[in-house]
Symmetry: C2
Subunit: 321 residues, 2 copies
């Protein structure tokens, strides 16, 4: 299915921008365009959160290296969950912490999970919330959406379609991540207002120009044009924002400050957010927000049905307050 | 060498706190105490930054899997650098981004590098600047200083002595990282004021109670007692702070706000900071600050000599302005 859709979207993008098909084929299609096409095709705004808890898996067979066996079991569990839920979703969001706690076998499981998600037609959002000074941020870009030059070749990174990032270190650090995304046709979701109770401690601190999180929103909006869609995702930007779904009061203001940003909305389900109240986070474009659900799908008796129920809710969301 | 030193320090700690040796032996010695003992033994406050750039390595032999071969070459290069520089250093700080861009082989190289650093008598500070909502922060704690329960056992994490963390998400997220450190006798370095030019964009935003970074400093100071040393490190806390050495103007104020915190001072050497001007960052305790140097040691013609020169500078720093 994907090659055909890709081709259609590429033609669409080329036609709108006056590029020849050959020119368009040389550039990666932007994340905003890929997401918009996927949302249209599946009538879904659901992002499947992948936060595997190895303790809940059945015991991996045999003795030997716990880490190796657990890594394989985690990858299997993620693949099964993806296969069940993918038809109702457009993206998968692996939580990197849950994989890297298993060391190298965990990172191998992460790579296998990314592959499984792509094979199921999902865009992959690597949720590591990385952020560092520019020289180190560039290395994270290589890890997530790029590749690393080595003697005699390149080592491919994770190949994600987008990633989350922590913007505390300011514009130069964020710009390094955005550059990596631009080069790869990827998206970036900067933390703007998270869904945990403690988020208020720093993000809501009042400044002359509003709370700190509104300054982070401004950093996002200022970079909107750099990751803008120019095809199916026109009017959207892959310079996106993480805005917790547990605080609908913030969503309207966030949309006002970041009109083009794709929002990643965690906190639905287990964390208490209600998907039906999220219309306020959407712009007119149906791909302007993704509703992320992890435990409420993974721990459901029937994950496929749980994902489909959430898809129906998102498909019925009317944008606006 | 370490077992004997450990024993001495443990006796010292037990004697000061009135615990029996048997009681003290059941608890991990705190990071502040381990660091204070190492600083005293080596008369050094140097932290060796490990930011391996695979492109600068000699070509790994043979064809085959670039990532595997590069991971092995990176681990070898880090081991050689550690063996050369360790006698003049007390800690090593692997930059996680530089390893994880090589995927699972990179994580294996990271684990090997941690082992090599510990064998050389260095404390290990895992520099990943992780930060997330509590449920995910707990997984990072397992990855860095804890272990992960799995069916039939546990998978050990990286076994670092301390780690860096990004406190943007507030008290509950930070507390989860501190809890992981408490359980492991580890230290935590929260980003307070970094050394990149863009740091001013968010961290210096003025609020009613001073710039944002001073609020982060308050979050650190409020947690000081939880990771306090009670032996050689008495008066210090492993609830530490990353404060860029490129802005000495911030250092005096940071020390005022965080009197017990161990400071991690990046930015010396290649980034422009001058180690000789760092006395202002120190409290009276010689282990109250670590001077981190990466490229200025790794890329020196003689890394051992470069590390020793920096050790001599740090040993001659007079605390105070």
């Amino acid at each position: 299915m994907w090659p055909t859709e890709d081709d259609v979207r590429r033609r669409f993008a080329a036609a709108r921008t006056g590029r020849t098909l050959a020119e368009a084929a040389l550039e990666p299609l932007s994340f905003a365009d890929r997401l918009a096409a996927a949302v249209a095709a599946r009538e879904s705004q659901v992002c499947l959160g992948l936060d595997p808890d190895p303790a809940k898996l059945e015991a991996p067979g045999g003795a030997g290296d716990h880490a190796e066996a657990t890594g394989v079991a985690v990858a299997d569990a993620c693949r099964r969950l993806i296969e069940a839920a993918a038809p109702s979703c457009v993206a998968a969001k692996p939580q990197l912490a849950c994989f890297e706690r298993l060391g190298a076998p965990g990172w191998a499981a992460l790579a296998a999970t990314v592959t499984a998600a792509r094979e199921a037609g999902l865009l992959v959002i690597a949720d590591g919330k990385r952020g560092d000074v520019p020289v180190s941020a560039a290395a994270y870009g290589q890890a997530l959406v790029g590749s690393t030059p080595v003697p005699g070749g390149e080592v491919a990174g994770l190949g994600a379609d987008a990633f989350t990032t922590n913007p505390l270190l300011g514009a130069d650090a964020l710009d390094t991540m955005v550059e990596a995304a631009e080069a790869a046709g990827a998206g970036v979701f900067a933390l703007v207002r998270t869904s945990n109770p403690g988020a208020a401690d720093v993000l809501d601190l009042p400044t002359d120009a509003g709370p700190v999180w509104e300054r982070l929103a401004a950093l996002v909006a200022e970079r909107s044009a750099r990751l803008a869609g120019d095809g199916a995702g026109e009017g959207l930007s892959g310079m996106g924002a993480v805005v917790g779904a547990t605080e609908p009061a913030h969503l309207a203001r966030a949309r006002e400050l970041m009109p083009a940003a794709i929002f990643l909305l965690p906190g639905v389900g287990a964390q208490g957010g209600d998907a039906a109240e999220l219309g306020i986070a959407f712009s007119a474009h149906p791909a302007s927000a993704l509703v992320t659900a992890s435990r409420s799908i993974a721990e459901a008796e029937d994950p496929a049905a749980a994902a489909e129920r959430l898809r129906e809710v998102t498909a019925s969301i009317a944008p606006g307050p």
